[in-house]
Amino acid sequence: MSAVTCQGLVKRFQQGDQTIYGLDHVDLSVAEGGFLCLSGPSGSGKTTLLNAIGGLDKPDQGSITIAGCCIDALSKGQLADMRLSNIGFVFQAYNLIPVLSARENVEFVMQVQGLSASERRQAADDILREVGLQGLEDRRPAQLSGGQQQRVAVARAIVSKPALVLADEPTANLDSHTAEQLMNLFVELNVKHKVTFIIATHDTRVMEYAKRLIRMVDGKIVEDEIR
């Protein structure tokens, strides 16, 4: 079964009197356990596609199925539940809740999922160590560098081992060493836990890890390379 199926996705944006196609009839099927990179120039629709798959933004046309479940007709609350139980997100920017510490940010999703305090704390501290933030657990986002914040966001996205991780430019603020660490972590999760990854990036270092590389231009898929 495929983890994600998109059929005929269209998303239009109005900019002045111009209509822009964020997504222009996108068909895509991502296998379970896939490791897919979305590449393409800025403005090519990568973020728009991730948001549509995550149920954050409704496409104007087309249909999306996540883990065998069609999300087109789900309500806001149902979409929230779907994200909670299936998807880990890493956004391009503004990832963390400012009033919560790094640990609390990581715990947040597990808290919403209803895990016990001890489980949460253990899992949060483990994952923060894995992303190299040991000792910074109690810092608030404002007390962390951009790269550190991004790693907290990654930790939060993968801590509850979701079936699917959607990451938007996850390495944008990271030095190459940390970026490599992060990608190794992604690969490990992908291999060990069969977590499906869809990563939007224009970082060539990231693309090297991809099992499948898709190139988008103007909201269309122009290349689809399986390696």
Partner: protein, 418 residues
């Protein structure tokens, strides 16, 4: 995995609400001050108004009204001597000596004419038992010249200062009291003025002349008959329930006896109490309405500033209801802290005023309404509870609007907002 109900999430929601509250601490402090001042104003003014009503009621109940009165059924229509009643029977005395009765006394109270050497005027003649009268009415405590009556057989009369002036008489002089006996014969008798009283309000001074009860019964040819029994309970608000057992006992008496609480005797004054309750509620709601604008605005601002975070939380799988709860929790924090400060400061400001506030500057006008020149604020726990409940419930109601708006935010718009 089972989706978690937003209520189980309340732990993290409370934490978020609390920390968010202090992000813009200046705005929070301003709002807290507004709520506290509003609540203070609700309670303080209510205590003042209650104090005024207390004063009016106490003034009246101590002016020969008491909490409960027993009379002949026709006495109130016609306080003539023929509408008198026998003194309380043994069973009635038993009821009158019960726990809930603080004091009781019997009186003769009939219309009469008083004459000095120079003037004649109509008054109400009140025959009292000086000892049992003491806790019930003002008279024992307001003698300014001469003495109080010594026994029911005392042969003197006590007059008000204004009546003494009107009659152009003075302490030690004799006056003549004239009335009717039960057979409609005119009876009169001379009394020496043994005491002069002052009262608040002073018009009372022209109305009542006090003599010994037995003396009055003798010269009016009444035998043992009396005009009324007056009963005092511990709280004027409880007068109605005080009357109930007395009425039951009185119904079994051989003669008909009417038992009424002060609210039934002085209906105008009695209506003050429910009217006050209405006023208090209206006042609380008016102040709240002013507050609610600030509250809704504060929350709306807080939501507006956090649009992105709210989007993020939704993107992470937090449901709209949970977002709504988070805003409501923030509102609860504001309201509860404001209420605690408001209630405390009201209590602390009223406490030192318990010994009374001198309002004699404005008292000239107020005395007409039956009030004295001292105001004793009356802090009622019920009023504090009412203010608290109204502010809390209506406050949460008003917060629903910004909370609902936050829940309806579109996560993607919120996240991409720059």
């Amino acid at each position: 995995m089972m989706p978690v109900s937003p209520f189980k999430l309340s732990g993290v929601l409370w934490v978020l609400a609390w920390r968010n509250l202090w992000r813009n601490y200046r705005r929070t402090l301003i709002m807290l001050t507004a709520i506290a001042v509003g609540v203070w104003a609700m309670i303080f003014l209510t205590a003042m108004m209650r104090g005024m009503v207390d004063d009016m009621v106490r003034g009246s109940t101590s002016t020969l009204l008491g909490h409960v009165q027993l009379h002949h059924p026709q006495y109130r229509d016609d306080p003539n001597i023929v509408n008198s009643m026998p003194p309380p029977s043994t069973s009635l005395q038993q009821a009158l000596n019960s726990e809930s009765v603080v004091a009781w006394t019997t009186r003769v109270r009939v219309p009469a004419v008083i004459s000095s050497e120079r003037e004649t005027t109509g008054i109400t003649l009140v025959g009292i038992d000086p000892e049992s009268e003491r806790p019930l009415s003002f008279i024992a405590h307001k003698i300014t010249e001469g003495r109080y009556l010594e026994s029911p057989n005392d042969r003197g009369v006590i007059l008000g200062k204004r009546l003494v002036d009107k009659l152009e008489t003075r302490l030690g002089k004799r006056v003549v009291l004239m009335s009717q006996d039960p057979d409609n014969n005119v009876v009169d008798r001379g009394f020496r003025v043994v005491g002069i009283y002052r009262s608040d309000p002073s018009m009372i001074e022209e109305q009542f002349a006090f003599v010994g009860r037995t003396t009055a019964q003798g010269f009016l040819h009444m035998g043992e008959q009396i005009s009324e029994v007056e009963v005092l309970g511990s709280d004027y608000r409880q007068a109605k329930s005080l009357a109930v057992p007395l009425r039951q006992t009185a119904n079994n008496e051989t003669v008909p006896i009417e038992v009424l609480s002060w609210t039934e005797i002085d209906r105008y004054l009695g209506s003050m109490l429910p009217m006050m309750d209405g006023f208090v509620l209206v006042w609380i709601i008016v102040v709240f309405t002013a507050l609610s604008f600030g509250l809704v605005n504060t929350l709306a601002m807080a939501v507006f500033e956090r649009v992105r975070e709210i989007g993020l939380m939704q993107a992470l799988g937090m449901k709209p209801q949970a977002i709504m709860l988070q805003v409501l929790f923030e509102s609860i924090f504001l309201l509860v802290i404001g209420l605690v400060i408001g209630n405390l400061s009201a209590w602390l400001t009223i406490l030192p005023l318990q010994s009374g506030i001198d309002i004699s500057v404005v008292a000239q006008g107020l005395e007409m309404g039956g009030m004295s020149s001292m105001l004793y604020p009356s802090l009622q726990i019920e009023d504090m509870i009412l203010a608290t409940v109204v502010v809390l419930l209506l406050g949460m109601g008003a917060s629903l609007l910004p909370a609902w708006r936050a829940a309806r935010l579109d996560p993607i718009k919120a996240l991409t907002k720059h």
